[in-house]
Subunit: 370 residues, 2 copies
């Protein structure tokens, strides 16, 4: 496991030790390293990565190099803790959160389930723009936080009742963290996305399918999604994924110019969905139709500003095969029970055939409040 | 005009004078009064109302009484400026923002326009729950901020193109500001909403109808709304609206118990939509089907937390008559042109037959970026 968090990775997180004030750290193998101590830089002394994230790409690159050099000889003497001795916190303050719908396989599968009478499972707009909707920022929690089964209105024999969701699902996603924001009225072209995207997390967009099905026409999901979303505690720097860059699948029709890419923006991330200790699916991120650069370009083309801490997620990652789907509804074998524990994991190619790891996005379902 | 901002109102805002650091103020007639000075309380010395809003209902009530007593004899000697000499700022930091769809008249009008083939203009869920969706917090701006015509994908002869919206609309709404938040997993019953709602603003939810129509199926509006929303600079305390409380229209079927009300939660607010100096509509807020207490109860029933600075808006306020609609699309006489200026205003009953006023929500349309 240490190999997944070697010098080619160096993710960013925030942790506390025995109730101490949370501080920014990186991870090397099975240890965390305090960054304010390592680099003598107070930007890392606070409880979130936002101040560092706001400094922008040039500074991120300098700091990443400095961390790599400082740790090249091994762990330092000070500011080091075993990963098992620390508590990880939400690594950044989430500003606005947008969830996309970028997997053609997932969107097709869901279209067949939610709109069975429609001749095409994809809506007419799907291949023209990365569909997304804004979600609730305040219910994003860090890995390890229990998820209480949500209540909501759902149909029972055709009549809406309030009660615990009976179709509670997971959604395996990848989230992209905006470090350097952009002012209102200034779109971010797809070709400049890397200047703004600080890093990548795993994201479980827990979904109450019965609540969602009843509420979502015409204005989209709300309570079906707003009760909780889980992110991994480690933000993997975009720079650590250089070796994971692949071409996106062929996009037909060709995207409009503002969505055009000048470099490979697909990401060869292998996800893994574990349910109660058993791996039930291995969604391949490289199968995603819309890339994060295109999502960010679309999100801002109307003039919306972005802020440090904005998070946009890919939507459920589903490959073409049944053992590659990123949600239970697509798998067709039932939904989450109380006590179930879901863990998302992922790896991606590093240097020289090695792999880099992501943190886990773990959550256990607790029974609904009575 | 002074009468609208008398002792029965005492709204909260944030302003600066000649480039000074923004501070919290109240308004009496045509003057603003610095609250940190008036009350000798540093909670008002910062650039947003959030610290005060977080203190909760009991403190809000004490402070409102104290302000009223301090100003009963007229304007104080220090910390007073003429309204024309100050610049108003966004009065609070917006946390999560949710927009509802609470007017039966508006939802019916839009349903007929967007889904002409549907036998019922209201979707089957509409009378069972206050439909809402999460919107972008970072593009909420204060009155007086120009609105650049957004670009986005919209259909031209059936083909999606990127370009300036050709169907730019306004939406006259009322926004409700959450002062005291609530933890994840703890719903706010409708009967406790007043403990959490700090105050009320006017809200223009600018909408690009052509962008919205192309993008919104299946996950709801995104770029059609995310480019800008304008709020009035004055937060009218909920307590100032005691005399505006009226029964909501009859709700049939009876709402589920979590949406039941034990006091009148309709608000007799008269809105006014001015376009280029001419009042084109007078939407009556008392005609709104779903009340703010029900919106907040619904928003949280699934377990979503709320935070100080959360904003939820009513959705377009439209009455039953054509001169009471809160959007141009319902009026049917065209959309906004570059240079058009929209001003939302409102008044509500105060004590003894007087009226209290809201601040303006003003915005002028600037041409799209080239």
């Amino acid at each position: 496991m240490s190999g997944l968090f070697g010098l080619a990775n160096l993710p960013y997180g925030v942790c506390s030790v025995d109730g101490s004030a949370p501080r920014a750290v990186t991870r090397l193998g099975d240890h965390v390293v305090d960054l304010a101590t390592l680099l003598d830089d107070d930007v890392f002394a606070g409880p979130s990565l936002n101040p560092f994230m706001a400094q922008g790409r040039a500074r991120w690159d300098v700091v990443r190099t400095a961390i790599g050099e400082a740790l090249a000889g091994g762990l330092p003497a000070d500011g080091v803790h075993a990963i098992g001795d620390v508590r990880m916190h939400l690594p950044f303050e989430v500003a606005d959160y947008v969830d996309f719908y970028a997997s053609e396989h997932h969107a097709s599968n869901l279209g067949r389930l939610f709109r069975p009478d429609s001749p095409d499972p994809l809506t007419p707009n799907w291949r023209h723009l990365p569909i997304g909707y804004t979600g609730r920022a305040s219910s994003i929690v860090v890995s390890g936080t229990d998820v209480v089964r949500p209540c909501g209105q759902r149909l029972v024999d055709g009549v809406p009742e309030l009660g615990p969701s009976l179709r509670l699902d997971l959604e395996a996603e990848v989230g992209f963290v905006v470090g350097a924001g952009s002012p209102m009225g200034t779109p971010i072209p797809a070709v400049e996305a890397a200047k703004h995207i600080f890093g990548v997390v795993l994201f479980n967009d827990w979904s109450a399918r019965d609540v969602q099905a009843w509420e979502y026409v015409p204005l989209g999901p709300h309570l079906g999604k707003s009760f909780a979303s889980t992110i991994s505690p480690w933000v993997v720097p975009l720079a650590a994924l250089d070796h994971a860059r692949v071409e996106v699948p062929r996009q037909q029709p060709a995207p409009l110019p503002y969505l055009a890419l000048d470099e490979p923006w697909g990401l060869d991330i292998d996800l893994e969905v574990e349910l109660n200790g058993e791996v039930i699916s291995r969604p391949p991120y490289r199968s995603m139709y819309w890339s994060p650069a295109q999502m960010l370009a679309h999100l801002t083309v109307g003039g919306a500003p972005t802020r440090t801490g904005d998070l946009f997620a890919s939507g459920t990652v589903s490959g073409p095969e049944l053992d590659q789907v990123g949600s239970l509804i697509e798998r067709g074998k039932g939904f989450l029970e109380d006590g179930d524990e879901v863990v998302l994991r992922a790896t991606a190619p590093g240097v020289d055939g090695s792999r880099i790891g992501f943190g886990e996005a773990r959550g256990r379902i607790r029974e609904a409040r009575s």
